[in-house]
Symmetry: C2
Subunit: 391 residues, 2 copies
């Protein structure tokens, strides 16, 4: 069988990612039209409309048989505890497909080849799609300051405490601090790499990567053994922007990788958030530049600010779950009405709550799942009941 998710589909997607860099506009478009296996056949036969792609594929094909390379990769991955995730898989992170429509004003290969990934290599036990569903990217400078790391740790920990996944690259500085902040509160964190997942770069972050595999995910579009070439970080950045509900830049020098990521976030119309810093700090120049030059960027100072911004794009309750009192104080009006409609004791049905709160049933159901997530109500077999307040 050749269909989506089949062995042939997987092999072809790996082979195509090896023949041309991920995000390639022509390759991705052809795959959408004809499916990966057919496109691989075509490329290997030299039947390639795009001249530069033809040159790239020809050069790469000299290094080996693309199909065989892919087969070996899939076997290797199994031994290493890595897996391949393709769009047909249930754990595919749907949000990255928004890259299909990404158009940037600026030119150049890196800004043109921004199409969705063909596949992800994944290490770690969590399901990729569900983990990225409620995720925020926290990125910034490698040469960060103590201030930047301190703020990053706080924001990442705050997001993780509220059940959000932190996403970042694998670099020193802000990236590493973002993962550490999430790990510190036993939260989920995802490192998006620009090299093979079996040998994450930089090597001196090895202990951190081990912890990420245990508690979160290491992911990459590049085949095992791929080197972290400079341009790959720039290709990778589009995934960080597209896989998350919003992106926070903590420290960034002028014209840095983080500001490049932000250009994708802005083009995708996702919340583009920036942490300010001392105007005397070179590592905040890029941040202040973003805030000054893009009206759509939003200044944030804390995890609560971040979730307020992310909440604007969809249904989201913004409660720091420190205690029932504080959580209730921050409820939106509908949720508060629903909580008031609960009987003091015993269970109740959503229908009764809707009638009591004078809200429609759909709103009640939607709010109830959020209230349940926030730990304020409990679903039992007998019905829904208020959570018992902590002492």
């Amino acid at each position: 069988m050749n269909g989506p998710g089949s062995r042939a589909d997987r092999v072809a997607r790996v082979a195509l990612s090896w023949l041309a860099e991920p995000g390639h506009r022509v390759v991705w478009t052809l795959v959408q039209q004809a499916g990966a296996p057919a496109v691989l056949d075509r490329l290997l036969a030299g039947d390639i409309p795009d001249r530069s792609l033809r040159t790239t594929v020809a050069a790469r094909a000299k290094a080996g048989d693309a199909r065989q390379v892919a087969e070996v990769q899939l076997d290797q991955a199994e031994r290493l505890g890595a897996r391949l995730v393709v769009p047909a898989d249930p754990e595919w992170p749907a949000r990255v497909d928004s890259l299909a429509a990404l158009e940037l004003d600026t030119g150049g290969r890196i800004n043109t080849d921004t199409r969705p990934p063909l596949c992800f290599w994944v290490r770690g036990g969590l399901p990729l799609g569900a983990t990225l569903d409620r995720s925020v990217a926290v990125v910034g400078a490698r040469a960060s300051t103590e201030y930047g790391e301190h703020v990053t740790l706080g924001i990442a920990a705050g997001l993780a405490e509220r059940g959000w996944t932190v996403v970042s690259g694998g670099a020193f500085g802000i990236d590493a601090a973002a993962h550490r902040g999430a790990l510190a509160v036993a939260g989920a964190t995802v490192a998006v790499l620009a090299c093979g997942v079996e040998r994450p770069y930089p090597a001196s972050n090895a202990l951190l990567f081990d912890r990420i595999v245990e508690q979160g995910l290491l992911i990459s579009e590049w085949p095992l053994g791929s080197e972290p070439l400079r341009h790959r970080f720039l290709i990778r950045n589009r995934v960080i922007a597209a896989a998350t509900a919003g992106t926070v830049v903590v420290e960034a020098a002028a014209r840095s990788g983080a500001t490049q990521t932000m250009s994708r976030v802005l083009a995708l119309d996702r919340p583009a958030m920036v942490v300010p810093g001392p105007v005397t700090s070179a590592m905040s120049v890029g941040c202040h530049g973003l805030l000054r030059s893009h009206p759509a960027t939003r200044l944030v100072t804390s995890a609560a600010d971040v979730l307020e911004e992310v909440g604007r794009i969809g249904e989201y309750l913004e409660p720091p779950p420190r205690g029932p009192e504080r959580t209730r104080d921050r409820l939106d009006e509908e949720s508060a009405l629903i909580l008031e409609a609960f009987p003091r004791r015993g269970t109740v049905t959503p229908e009764v709550l809707a009638a009591e709160a004078r809200l429609d049933l759909r709103t009640v159901l939607r709010r109830l799942s959020l209230l349940e997530t926030a730990g304020l109500v409990v679903r039992t077999e007998a019905g829904i009941t208020l959570a018992r307040r902590g002492g």
Copy 2:
């Protein structure tokens, strides 16, 4: 004679400022309709439409004869080297009259009584109006940090170096640093007080106030001898907002005087600029709050940023005049084209420049005056020539 600018007009305006606090909506409106002397007559006769104003005037009138108090004030002022400036005077700062149309969303006396001043008491040799024409307010917390003072000094000095007047209150912290920054580069600075100009508050800033009188201006709407009562600072803030081309807040705690000033700046539709700081600093909480809650506020990090914002409300060239090299580097495209069109030696006409630079004559003429102001070109009787570069 009773007309605007007459002795009777001056006496009446001083007396009215003594009977009711400056900015009083009813008093100002009556003065606009009937003139200050007639309104003073009416108020002293008890013929007052507004009940609360009637009570205020009656209470104050017990303390003395308003007209006599005013006469004494004017004599006193002469001895102290202070002068009264009224709207009929050539040096009246016209911009403050925009307060006539200021309407704030929030209630309360302080937010209602925001009408223009009836008069200003002034100490210092500079003409008030011309000094405030090109002015920017730089305000912030009394309990400032070293960071805030450092940034304030830099911004104020940068503004003064470019020929702009700095305006602030007379408080410790950011206000004092703003004046010091301007004074340090022999620039003009104006302190807007909420008490009598003969005894500026706080007394421990006395040396600073002396330097301001020498090099800039101390001004106040309140009669000599007025105490710096708490509510007067809030009344005063509307003048800081209205007298300047824009306002910069450097450090501010949540819900501070500086954020109150900013509400007036925003309502007046003037550039509302905010310097960010570490998100870990309590003294930047108000700043970040302003940037988050008001889309019209703009983040600024330097004097150049400030002038870019202020320049948006009018034609303004943004050159830090440190040296011809740097100035030229920052030129806009049209100005750069014009400079390139100059012959190496000798003079040229605007018409020739327009032809060479492929710009229309009107643009060339407009840019030329700016280039002349910036010291890059010189007009002689023979024509226009490039300024000789400094060594």
